[in-house]
């Protein structure tokens, strides 16, 4: 029998529900196909690995030690995690990245002065930006979240720019009414498509929006009540929902 089609091997690795009995039998016996399949299978399993849902931040002395050991600039002395305060919104990130990539890497001597001047400018702007960032950036879109039947929670959602064309969704709820856990989704108006942004652990949370996702296509913000059943799909039970004004 000839080897399995590479497309079929990929779909098998994804548990696509494809393949006949004889094809699966071939996979069991053929070392070449089996090796290829197992490599693809590991790739799928790595991609589907969930990062730990709850994280423990290191104590403030850890950054202090790093800062001291590496002799970093005095302006960076404060713990980027905000010391003992764990509210991630209260520690706006410095936004140094935008100009950094353009800085010439292997500068000729003539460039050095300009590069140094540019660096001072970049750092200066970065410093000013990081100082000003204490005021949150203006939202790109907002939504009012209304409870669905059997729930009373209300809330709001904001899309904020985070630099480098990235966006994040900040969700704030009046309560956590989930029987299982709360999951945040962006959904098409006709419910034909949905994107999971992640688990909302308390009443507020911040979620990265996939780059390239057109919010006009997925304007509905939805927080669902998900049972711990291992099924990645939407449970069908929504706690709150609202439409972004995009």
């Amino acid at each position: 029998m000839q080897h399995l089609d590479p497309e079929l091997l990929s779909l098998l690795a994804l548990d696509d529900g494809v393949g006949t009995d004889s094809e699966r039998e071939h996979l069991r016996r053929c070392t070449a196909c089996r090796t290829e399949y197992e490599e693809l299978r590991r790739t799928v399993s790595v991609a589907r690995t969930q990062p730990p849902q709850t994280l423990q931040a290191p104590g403030p002395q850890v950054w202090a030690a790093i800062h001291r050991e590496l002799g970093l600039a005095e302006t960076l002395a404060e713990d980027p995690l905000g010391g003992n305060v764990r509210d991630i919104r209260s520690a706006p990130p410095p936004r140094p990245g935008t100009a950094g990539g353009r800085r010439p890497r292997r500068a000729r001597p003539l460039w050095l002065l300009a590069a140094a001047a540019a660096l001072v400018l970049v750092l200066g702007i970065g410093w000013i930006v990081s100082r000003q960032a204490a005021a949150p950036p203006a939202p790109l879109a907002v939504a009012t979240l209304e409870p669905l039947k059997q729930f009373t929670t209300t809330g709001s959602a904001e899309v904020l720019p985070t630099g480098g064309n990235q966006r994040e969704l900040v969700v704030r709820l009046s309560a956590d009414e989930a029987h299982g856990y709360q999951e945040v989704w962006l959904i098409k108006p006709d419910l034909s498509g949905l994107v999971s942004l992640g688990v909302l652990e308390s009443t507020t949370g911040t979620f990265a929006i996939p780059p390239g996702l057109n919010l006009a296509d997925y304007p509905i913000v939805d927080v669902s009540d998900e049972p711990l059943d291992g099924k990645p799909a939407h449970s069908g039970v929504s706690i709150v929902r609202g439409k972004l004004d995009v």
Partner: protein, 187 residues
């Protein structure tokens, strides 16, 4: 704590390689909790995890000259370093163990080891690579990975011919597999 908001970009990779200290602070803000959690799981104590986290970021900064943005995004590289730091700490603990012949229960749980960090480093590497696949490949693979859609469902969802979806899946999955075989070369 929930995961800090994460928005890492290729620009930040380049700025890290170029030695901008602010980017180290930003990497710490976004990824120190992940590094610390992976270390705590493998090493079993908060104090050891604090030490490991400190070592990871110090090692990352001192080795930034060997960091290659084209090979891996900074988050994947950091977690690769975490894996090595955990392995070093476990080896040191085992040496200490042999020296003192103490009871086995002070050894860190061998079930966790550095493997969790290894898988997480690979996952972050893939996440970066998904962004480089372009469209519609990136969307196709995200739907296949994270929403468990079949190729037929993906074709309907994205309104693409079935054959196109299948061949994108084959090529993209092979490419992602090839990326995992490249060593992170983390210090």
């Amino acid at each position: 704590m929930p995961a800090p908001s994460q928005s890492w970009s290729a620009e930040l990779d380049a700025a890290f390689a170029a030695g901008q200290e602010q980017v180290l602070a930003e990497a710490y803000r976004q990824f120190a909790p992940l590094v610390h959690t992976l270390a705590a799981r493998s090493l079993g104590s908060q104090a050891s995890a604090d030490d490991a986290t400190q070592e990871v970021f110090i090692r990352a900064w001192r080795s930034r000259a060997t960091y290659n943005p084209a090979a891996a995004p900074v988050p994947a590289w950091l977690v690769g370093i975490t894996r090595n730091v955990i392995a070093d700490a476990l080896a040191a603990a085992a040496r200490e163990q042999r020296k003192v012949r103490a009871a086995a229960d002070v050894l860190p749980d061998p079930g966790h080891g550095p493997e969790a960090a290894e898988v997480m480093a690979d996952r972050l590497l893939l996440e970066g690579e998904l962004g480089r696949l372009g469209e519609p490949q990136g969307s196709i693979m995200r739907l296949a990975f994270y929403e468990d859609l079949t190729h037929e469902q993906i074709a309907r969802r994205l309104d693409l011919p079935l054959g196109t979806v299948k061949s994108h899946i084959r090529r993209s999955l092979s490419r992602l597999r090839d990326r995992l075989e490249v060593d992170h070369a983390a210090p």
